[in-house]
């Protein structure tokens, strides 16, 4: 009887020491560090990204349908200096509600002043003439975060997609890395007829298309 008490006490003591034991060694951390560095890139655009249609003759707007305006093609260059990177961009249409036709490739031209809900028209943007570090390249369109997409000499800008540069044309093409990325963005305006527009126009009604291009270091 006494012996078993002793054993119990001893077992308790050992249990006590083994709990204390782990406290005798200080834990040590292991850290994995580093930084994925992104290059400093400068974006320049012809006419600072402003596409100016000047004066459009109201008389040319058809009774039904759209008046198609001539394309305005301007160059955009992203220069990442000596850094080598993938580059992609997505767009947000700041006048989306005013597009007079629906589609992921159609962007609004704004409302007639003092006529909320009116739609002056829409425009499309075609990407072409891509250059990568001065060499001919292809325009790539892919889902954001995807590994590859469709590459061609000319592709329509899509508000749901990411756009990049590729070294080969075709489907399932990966983006190509480089330092200086350039591409032409051709805007093609379409002015809606009076019914679609939803408000009468007076002299001096302004086209007010606006989109934001967001660049990232990959698709």
């Amino acid at each position: 009887m006494n012996i078993s008490y002793l054993q119990a006490a001893l077992a308790l003591l050992l249990a006590g020491t083994s709990v204390n034991a782990s406290a005798a060694i200080d834990p040590h951390d292991l850290e994995v560090t580093g930084t994925i560095r992104t290059p400093l890139c400068v974006v320049t655009a012809d006419n600072e990204g402003v596409y100016e249609y000047g004066k459009i003759n109201l008389a040319n707007i058809p009774a039904t349908g759209h008046l198609k305006l001539p394309p305005l093609n301007q160059q955009w260059v992203v220069n990442c200096g000596r850094g080598v990177t993938y580059l992609g961009f997505q767009v947000v249409d700041n006048r989306a509600a005013s597009a007079s036709a629906a589609g992921n490739d159609k962007f609004g031209l704004g409302e007639v002043a003092d006529a909320p809900g009116s739609r002056i028209g829409y425009y499309t943007v075609t990407l072409s003439g891509a250059l990568l570090d001065g060499a001919t390249a292809y325009v790539l369109k892919a889902a954001p975060g995807a590994g590859s997409g469709v590459a061609a000499t000319s592709i329509g800008l899509d508000k749901t997609q990411s756009h990049s540069w590729a070294s080969m044309a075709g489907t399932d093409q990966p983006p190509a890395a480089g330092s200086v990325f350039s591409v032409g963005l051709a805007v093609e305006g379409n002015i809606a007829d009076a019914t679609t527009r939803g408000a009468p126009v007076t002299e001096g009604t302004s086209l007010d298309g606006s989109m934001t291009l967001s660049y990232s270091f990959g698709l």
Partner: protein, 216 residues
């Protein structure tokens, strides 16, 4: 007879005398059995204090889509020095748990990007182990026996314990100075796992806590 009697009396007297003698005031001497049931203290030292630095990586190190990119392996020596002979083991806690882009007991998180995008994961290989300067095997177990024993083993989380084992038998190695290489192998996830492309510098933030214990 008389003489006999007196002799007996004398003996009794002597006995009485001696009995009185033992009652003399000599301080009693206590006998002690001492010692401490204790564990030897151990100190943990790691090259670069356990920091594995990949330094500057390029934006192109992140591959498009689901293509992953294994980075170079970085080995570092860890030494645990104890005051006395002991068994030694450790487990790991992943402080970036949940950010690993591929889930496994051997994969540890590297941190997040693009809100909840996953930067990748790293593995940790234990090899080139020594106990008291003699080459030792290592093990990783989630039972009470020595499993996954060999010259090298992957460090695992999720209830696993790692330690040093005899090269000959499936037993923990007793010793005073425990050494091992812990080699980090990081893998960057593709842009898809990162929730899309990055737009700014991104730090790697892998972090483990190694908790050491005596025995299994």
């Amino acid at each position: 007879m008389n003489a006999k009697v007196s002799l007996t009396a004398l003996a009794s007297l002597l006995a009485l005398f001696m009995g009185t003698a033992s009652a003399d005031p000599i301080a009693p001497i206590e006998m002690k059995v001492t010692g401490t049931l204790d564990m030897p203290a151990c100190t943990v030292a790691a090259v670069s204090d356990g920091v594995y630095d990949y330094e500057d990586l390029d934006a192109t190190d992140i591959r498009p889509g689901t293509v992953t990119h294994p980075l170079e392996a970085i080995p570092k020596t860890w030494t645990i020095t104890c005051e006395g002979r002991t068994y030694l083991s450790f487990n790991v806690v992943d402080n970036a748990e949940g950010t690993e882009s591929a889930t496994a007991a051997t994969n540890f998180g590297l941190g997040s990007v693009n809100t909840d995008g996953k930067l990748g994961y790293f593995t940790l290989l234990m090899d080139n182990a020594k106990v008291d300067t003699v080459a030792s095997h290592v093990f990783a177990t989630n039972t009470t026996s020595v499993d996954n024993k060999g010259p090298s083993t992957s460090v695992r989380k999720s209830g696993y314990t790692m330690g040093w084992a005899s090269t000959a038998t499936n037993e923990q190695q007793l010793g005073q100075v425990f050494e091992t290489n812990l080699t980090v192998q990081a893998t960057l996830a593709g842009s898809a796992a990162m929730n899309g492309p990055i737009t700014d510098d991104v730090p790697l933030a892998g972090s483990l806590t190694l908790n050491f214990a005596y025995g299994l």
